[in-house]
Amino acid sequence: MRRSILLAAALTTTLALGACSSGGSGDETTDEPSGESSSTASGGSLTIWVDETRQDAVTDAAQSFEDETGTAVDVVLKNFDEIRADFLAQVPTGEGPDITVGAHDWLGELTTNGVVAPLELGDTAAGFEDVSLAAFTQDGQVYGLPYAIENIALIRNTALADEAPATWDDAIAAGEAAGTKFPILVQSDGDKGDPYTHYPFQTSFGAPVFEQNEDGSYTSELAMGGPEGQAYAEWLGEQGAAGNLSQDTTYDIAVEAFKNGESPFIVGGPWMIESFEGLDLSIDPVPAAGDQPAQPFVGVQGFYLSAESDDAIVANDFLVNYMSTEDAQVALYEAGGRPPALTAAADTAAADDPIVAGFREVGADAVPMPSIPEMASVWSFWGVTEAAIVNGADPVSSWDKMIEDIQSAMDA
């Protein structure tokens, strides 16, 4: 008796093992149905990776594409944070998707690893906002179909401040006049800092992160050193000492405080808006701290085409002729709430939502976040140094050391 129990247990374990080894090849089995249908329907087949905010909109577009062309489209739900690494790892094995959603700042890494194919948008290119195409362009070639543009701006609680501040000092004065706990909220993240949110202030001192070519693309030459960068660093130190900036104001704390009316201003993006229900908001340009305009980063979301796609023609057809239509872009906007990249769709979206219109207006003056691979070396030093300066480190020497460290990491 005892033996048969053991035997049964052992067999069940073996069974579980078998189940596990089939689990190991799970990624392949998801592709299987589409692979079969390609031979039967011969309309080709597509596998598309999406995250949950885009799932419904893409599925709808895929459905109409399916009805029209007979192509089987398999929309696979992925966690957005995992898409980049999985795409890099799986495309070379031939098991990756044909199309994936992604952010434009992945571009440098994706092209260096040869996992994305260029797109030829042809005449449809004219319909897109310039900044969205520029973000997906490298060496004159477009690598992604943009569908949404997002950038930060100054969100103002109109009950606490009735006009948009032109400069940082105006904003502080207005914030103090409002008598709230914080004059202005600029989020940070402990000692990791948040250079993305602080970037408009940096550009207002004339210290962009990299030199730009004439066509707006970035070179790998650092531009944030020198007297401009040092001036910005000193400003960070002063504001930190005055208590206007703090590394302890994390995203959650900042959003909570603004929601509770503890500050008239917060620097943030469209993703915050749904937390502020019930407040009367106005979207204004970020006030300049230096003597130049404050330009935030623009992030562009889009679709990439795999370099190893077996169904490249169908994939191109889907992206260029279906996802670039106004209907598809508006559907994506309604699903994700991010302003569309297609000008016509953006006009539609802006017409019925002043918040979208506000962000779009600010975004018109913004610059794309660099997508060159060198940017990875910048992120790791940038925020930490900013946070340290805000926290009381010597501005100029810290900033100069950061520039040296970034340069040596880029050269290594």
């Binding site: 035997l7 073996t14 078998g18 011969s42 040869g114 996992v115 370099a307 077996d310 490249a312 340290a388």
Partner: protein, 547 residues
């Protein structure tokens, strides 16, 4: 953690092996009584279970076959054959017990370690992501340029006796057609409908279905505009519209070189898996090649890492040993206190004690990082009345906080195992000690503690190995910060070796990815932890001699 399990598996196998021979000898006189030969309910149950296993196994093998995953195919086939042999033969009794365990070990431990070892000797990482063929293809495609100002041409895919070609309608409405060998030529008799060529004499129009079956051929097709290659060639990505492209790079398969047609520079493949020109400049996309011990050399020779590496190594040991010692002492103390039968409500206290153990570690660490926030954290705001103590941002306090949080997380485990060990201590030995006139302290020091250590020492060693690689806590609580102010690499005061590997490898996005270097460092850590554990296990044998 795995070592104690392996030991127990081995003992199970050993003991079962011990009591088998007598039975088997008894059976030799009655061969039909063998479990494998009798057709009783046990055999039928086995048959059914094996049928299920085989069905699953065959499914896995078949799936692997259809996906061309021959590695998975070979391994699952071997496991399947082994399972069938083991459970239907009479001679492999020990294996009947350990085969499932061995299978798991193979898939989840040995394969992972071996693959890490393999990656450590390659340059897998950003810029060396795939095979050479893929790199060449990517370079060629990335360096094709649409001729500036060229129109988009409505395109029809045509066929000339099996050879694919394109027919395009120019801006003036004239139709031209050609194949890869035949440059575009005017087709005056072609029919144009809705701006697209629908019939071209001499060519057969390929329908959509066939195009989709021959997608690779269509996307790879380049139809020259004229005899002069400078004019470029027509290509299409969607089989609907064609564009004129010129390519900057050309690959010559015979000499295995890439030539830049605009500068005339020739690039040849080098040992690092990149195309390199005579002046040392390289093309961006490379491929994965074995690089020998280069990664290990880099790990120890990069001057920027030397000083932080030493600090991190020391802190890793302090953290791992400190965590084990503090959690064990607190757990032991509480176990002794709550082991006293005079204490009322022991069960309630014990349950409360175990609560931190029930909270997932990553969640608790995240929670504590909020509680310890300098300006808004509960600890400073409420408990300390608004003090602004930089718990997680001061180098010394951050280390202290990490140890304290790990103490909070870890003591229930030690409390549990100490309680268990204390309750299983034989009372006769205690009684003997009392009769011999040993005092309380003497009994505890000479009897209780050594006996306790026999039971808990292996767990302490595995706890050390666990904390040595306790990535979750560091990542969630401090992220390795505060940063070293004097180092030029993104590492911090609370980084331990494994979080250092995470940051150097660039998986966190703070540097370019280098899986080769990360794997090499992981192997170094594996050697350190494995070596220390082996030494420690050897020295715990002297506890066992007490028995």
């Amino acid at each position: 953690m795995s070592s104690p399990q392996v030991t127990s598996a081995a003992t199970t196998a050993g003991s079962s092996g011990d009591d088998v021979p007598p039975r088997r000898r008894g059976r030799t006189s009655r061969p039909d009584a063998s479990h494998a030969r009798s057709y009783g309910p046990g055999f039928i149950a086995k048959l059914v279970l094996m049928a299920v296993v085989d069905a699953l196994g065959v499914y896995v093998v078949w799936s692997a076959w259809t996906q061309d995953s021959y590695g998975i195919l070979a391994v699952s086939l071997a496991l399947l054959v082994a399972a069938n042999w083991v459970y239907f033969t009479r001679r492999a009794l020990a294996l009947k017990y350990i085969l499932p365990g061995l299978g798991f070990l193979l898939v989840f431990q040995i394969f992972v370690v071996a693959y890490t070892g393999y990656v450590a000797f390659t340059n897998y990482g950003t810029g060396h992501n795939g095979t050479k063929d893929q790199a060449v293809e990517a370079l060629l495609v990335q360096n094709e340029r649409r001729v500036e100002g060229s129109p988009s041409l409505p395109l029809t895919v045509v066929e000339d006796g099996g050879t694919l070609g394109f027919a395009v309608v120019g801006e003036d409405g004239a139709v031209t057609a050609g194949t890869a060998e035949q440059p575009l030529s005017a087709q005056d008799d072609a029919t144009v409908q809705d701006g697209r060529a629908t019939e071209v004499p001499g060519y057969a129009v390929v329908d959509r279905e066939q195009i989709l079956e021959r997608q690779d051929e269509v996307t790879d097709l380049r139809v020259p505009v004229s005899d002069d290659p400078e004019d470029g060639s027509i290509r299409t990505t969607d089989a609907r519209t064609g564009y004129v492209y010129t390519s900057v790079l050309e690959y010559d398969a015979a000499s295995d070189t890439i030539t830049d047609t605009s500068t005339g520079v020739t690039y040849t493949p080098n040992d690092d898996g990149q195309f390199e020109a005579a002046d040392g400049s390289t093309l961006a996309v490379g491929w994965r090649v074995p690089v020998g011990f280069d990664n290990f050399v880099t790990a120890f020779s990069d001057g920027r890492y030397a000083q932080p590496f030493l600090k991190i190594l020391v802190w890793t040991f302090v953290f791992a040993i400190g965590s084990v010692v503090t959690t064990f002492l607190l757990g032991l103390f509480l176990a002794i206190v709550f082991n006293d039968t005079r204490l009322r409500g022991r069960r309630v206290y014990r349950t409360l004690m175990i609560l931190p153990y029930a909270v997932p570690g990553f969640l608790a660490a995240l929670l504590w990082s909020g509680l310890l926030n300098t300006r808004f954290g509960y600890v400073n705001q409420v408990l300390l009345g608004g003090a602004e103590i930089p718990w997680l941002t001061d180098p010394f306090l951050a280390k202290l906080s990490v140890l304290a949080v790990n103490l909070w997380l870890g003591f229930p485990y030690m409390f549990l195992i100490c309680t268990g060990a204390l309750q299983s201590l034989p009372s006769d030995v205690m009684e003997a000690a009392r009769i011999d006139g040993a005092g309380r302290w003497r009994t505890w020091r000479s009897i209780t503690l050594p006996l306790l250590l026999v039971a808990t020492a292996p767990l302490l060693i595995s706890s050390f190995a666990f904390n040595f690689n306790n990535f979750t806590l560091i990542y969630m609580l401090t992220g390795g910060g505060p940063r070293f102010a004097d180092a030029s690499v993104p590492l911090g005061h609370t980084d331990i070796l494994i979080s250092m590997v995470y940051s150097i490898s660039g998986v966190d996005g703070s540097a370019t990815k280098d899986f080769g270097l990360a794997s090499a460092l992981s192997i170094v850590i594996f050697v350190i932890v494995g070596g220390i554990s082996a030494l420690a296990f050897r020295s715990t044998r002297k506890f066992e001699e007490i028995n």
